[in-house]
Symmetry: C2
Subunit: 388 residues, 2 copies
C-alpha cells in the first residue's frame, strides 16, 4: 500500500475549541422525531482564515466517535499533545489546505465531546438527560451544523466533506440545504445502513445494555458501564479493520510470550490490541452517546425514508459537484454501496466523480495518512475554487 | 441460490444419545498442554449399521456449538421434536447415506452437550470444574474421538467429515491418526485461525468476562452470565451470516411497526433476530464451554505449531483422499484459506479435490439444505467405497 507520510514540516496549527449555543428558552430545536430539544450547544473548531467574501469555507463532518478536533494541536507542547484526528489531511499545504480554505469542524449533536448529548444537563431536571435525551438523526446533526454555519455568517460552503457517519452528514447537507453546498465529498460511506451494519451496532448496544452499571442510562453519578462500553468498542474496532489489515498488523503473533498460555487469557497480540482499544475508549466516550449515535446511523436511509420517495428525488435540488470515494477493503460500507450512491447521483443529473482507493486497511483507511487522498482532494478542491 | 429441500420422505431415523467413559482412576488423559484430565465421558450417537468388516464407518465432527445429534429424532413425535443439526445431509438415501454407511457423531471435549467440559463435576472437588477445567485443543478433541472409535472396534474410518471447527478436527485426524482415515472432507474451515477470527472470538469472550454473573467461571450454583453469553452469541451469529444473506433475510425491514421508534429499542428485524438468537442460546449452552472452545479454535494453526514445522510435513503421513469444500460468501473462513489448505495438501503429495460452492448464506451455508452438497458427497463417498 502506498501511504506516504504527508506530515507538513511547517509550524503546527494551534487551535481552540469554541462553543455555540442556540435553541434557548422557548425557541427549542424541533427534531426529526417531532421532539423538542433546547438549549443546544455545538462545540466546534476553525482553521485558516475566512475570506472577505466568505466563499472559502469547508465543513468537515466527523465520524461516529470523532470530535471537533480535526487537525492541529490544543497547545504548543506538540510532543505530548495529540494532533487532531485528520491532521494528515487538514493543515497548511495539505489536501484540505488551511492556507487557502477556512475549515470548520463541529462535534455532532448527541455526542459527548462538547456538543449537547445524553450526558448534558437536562434543564428541566437539573440532571443529565440519560435516556430522556431525545433520539437525534443524521438530519438533526446537520440542522444543528447549519445553524452554526449561519452563526458564522457563511451563506455557502465551498465543500462539505466527511467519512463514514460523516459521509452520511455530507449527503444530508446536499438534501436539506442544497443551495448552501457547492461541492461534496462523501468518503467510505453509504446511502443506507445495511442489515449487517445494523447488526454490528446492535451487538455493541446490547453489550452496553447487558452491563448492570448501565442502569437504563442513569449512571452519571455512579460507576459508568465501562465493561459493556469496552466490549462495544471492540466490536466496532473489528468492523473498522480488514482481514488483510489484521493479518498484516498482528497475524497470529503471541503477546509477550513464546507459547500458548492454555488459559482464558491474552495469548495473541490482536486480543491485547482489542482490550487496549476498549479500555482506552471508556476514558473518553460516553456509553449513552454510543447508543444514540449508532441508532442515528442505523436509521439512515436515503432510499426509502418517508416522506421522501427516492435518493434521486432527494438529490434533484442539489447543485453540488460530488466526489465519492470508497476503499477496496472496506467491508462495513463496501464499494458497491458507494457505486449505488454514484448511480443515484447520476440519475438525479448530478456532476459526480468516483474513486475507489486500493487499500488493505478496511473501513479505517480513510483516516490513515495517504498521499493519494491528499492529491485527489487538492485537485478536486482546486477545480471547485477555480470554477467559482 | 439453488437449495432444494432434500428431506427424505422415508420414515425418520430415531436415535439415542450414548455415552463412553474412559481415563478413569489413575489412567488419566494427557492433554496437549501437559495437563491430565479424567474421567472423560464422550456423548455420541450412531446411525445406520456397521458392516461385518467394520469398513463403512463415517465420523462427522460438529462445529463449535453443535452436539452429537447430527440427524434424526430422539422420539417418534417428529412434529415437536427437532431433527439433528445436519439432518439434510445425514440419513437414508441422503448425501451421507445411512443405508450404506455407519455414521458416528460425538460431542467434543470441553462442550456441554454430554461430553466432559467445564460444567462437569471435578472428581477432586465434587464441584463443577469451572476454570479449573484444563484447556483442551482441537487435537485433544480428536484424541478423545479416537478412543471412542477404538471402543467401537473400528480400525479405519471410511471418511471423517466436518465443517468449521469440525473441519479443523478433520484435518487433525489426518495428522494424528493418518493410518485410520481413508478419506477426509473439511468444509468451510481453515488450517489456521486468522487474526480476524481470533478478534471476533475475543470479543465474544470479553462479553462473557464482562458479565458480573460470570464470577470467574464459578457460577454453577448461582445465576449464570446469560447477558454476556447472549451478546457473545450475537457476535458469533453475525460472523456466520453474510452481507448478502442479511440483506435477503432482513433488509432494513422494521420489526412489528411502521415507523422508527426513536428510542433505544428494537426497530429492525435484524435486531430482533439477533436478540432472539442470543436468548435462545443461553438456554442450551454453557458460557465456560464457549470460552474453552473458542480458545481451542484460536490456538488452531497447522502452519507453525511446534513441534511441527509445516502443514506439508503434517499431511505427509496421511493416505487419505481429500475433498476440500468452501463457500463463496464465507468471510469467516474465506475461500482463499481453503485454497491454502489445498496447496499444502498438494505439496504434501495428497490426492485432493477442491470445490467452492456459490452460496450467499455466508459461513453457515454448509448447514443449510443444498442439493449440490448432497450430490458432491454422494459421488465422493461412492468413489471411496468402490476403491476399497
Amino acid at each position: 500500500m502506498h501511504t506516504d507520510d504527508v506530515t507538513s514540516e511547517r509550524a503546527p496549527l494551534i487551535v481552540e475549541k469554541q462553543f455555540f449555543t442556540f435553541a434557548e428558552g422557548e425557541d427549542k430545536m424541533m427534531l426529526e422525531s417531532g421532539a423538542l430539544l433546547g438549549p443546544v450547544t455545538i462545540a466546534y473548531e476553525t482553521y485558516g482564515t475566512l475570506s472577505p467574501k466568505k466563499d472559502n469555507a469547508i465543513l468537515v463532518a466527523h465520524a461516529f466517535s470523532g470530535d471537533s478536533h480535526v487537525a492541529g494541536y490544543y497547545s504548543t507542547d506538540t510532543e505530548h499533545d495529540k494532533p487532531g484526528w485528520w491532521d494528515s489531511v487538514v493543515g497548511p499545504g495539505k489536501g484540505i489546505d488551511t492556507d487557502k480554505y477556512f475549515v470548520i469542524c463541529s462535534n455532532i449533536l448527541g455526542s459527548c465531546m462538547g456538543s449537547t448529548g445524553p450526558a448534558s444537563i437536562n434543564p428541566e431536571t437539573g440532571k443529565p438527560y440519560g435516556l430522556t435525551f431525545p433520539m437525534v438523526t443524521i438530519g438533526d446533526m446537520v440542522t444543528a451544523q447549519k445553524l452554526l454555519i449561519d452563526h458564522l455568517g457563511i451563506k455557502e460552503l465551498l465543500c462539505v466533506i466527511g467519512g463514514s457517519v460523516g459521509g452520511m452528514q455530507v449527503l444530508e447537507w446536499c438534501i436539506r440545504f442544497p443551495e448552501m453546498v457547492r461541492s461534496a465529498v462523501p468518503l467510505a460511506t453509504t446511502m443506507r445502513h445495511s442489515a449487517m451494519a445494523i447488526a454490528f451496532n446492535e451487538v455493541a448496544r446490547q453489550a452496553i445494555l447487558a452491563d448492570p452499571n448501565w442502569q437504563r442510562g442513569d449512571y452519571y453519578s455512579t460507576t459508568p458501564p465501562h465493561m459493556g462500553l469496552a466490549v462495544a468498542r471492540m466490536v466496532g474496532h473489528i468492523t473498522y479493520l480488514s482481514d488483510e489489515a489484521m493479518r498484516r498488523k498482528f497475524g497470529r503473533r503471541l503477546q509477550d510470550k513464546s507459547d500458548f498460555s492454555y488459559e482464558i487469557d491474552v495469548d495473541f497480540e490482536v486480543e491485547n490490541y482489542l482490550r487496549y482499544q476498549g479500555s482506552k475508549f471508556v476514558q473518553r466516550f460516553d456509553a449513552n452517546s454510543l447508543l444514540y449515535i449508532t441508532k442515528a446511523a442505523d436509521y439512515y436511509d436515503l432510499t426509502s425514508k418517508s416522506p421522501r420517495n427516492s435518493a434521486e428525488m432527494d438529490f434533484s435540488l442539489s447543485k453540488a459537484r460530488f466526489l465519492v470515494i470508497s476503499y477496496s477493503s472496506d467491508w462495513l460500507y463496501p464499494t458497491y454501496q458507494s457505486k449505488e450512491l454514484v448511480q443515484a447521483l447520476k440519475r438525479a443529473g448530478r456532476d459526480v466523480s468516483f474513486c475507489e482507493i486500493e487499500a488493505d486497511a478496511g473501513h479505517d483507511a480513510f483516516l490513515i495518512p495517504d498521499k493519494r487522498l491528499q492529491d485527489i482532494l487538492t485537485g478536486f478542491l482546486d477545480g471547485i475554487s477555480r470554477n467559482h
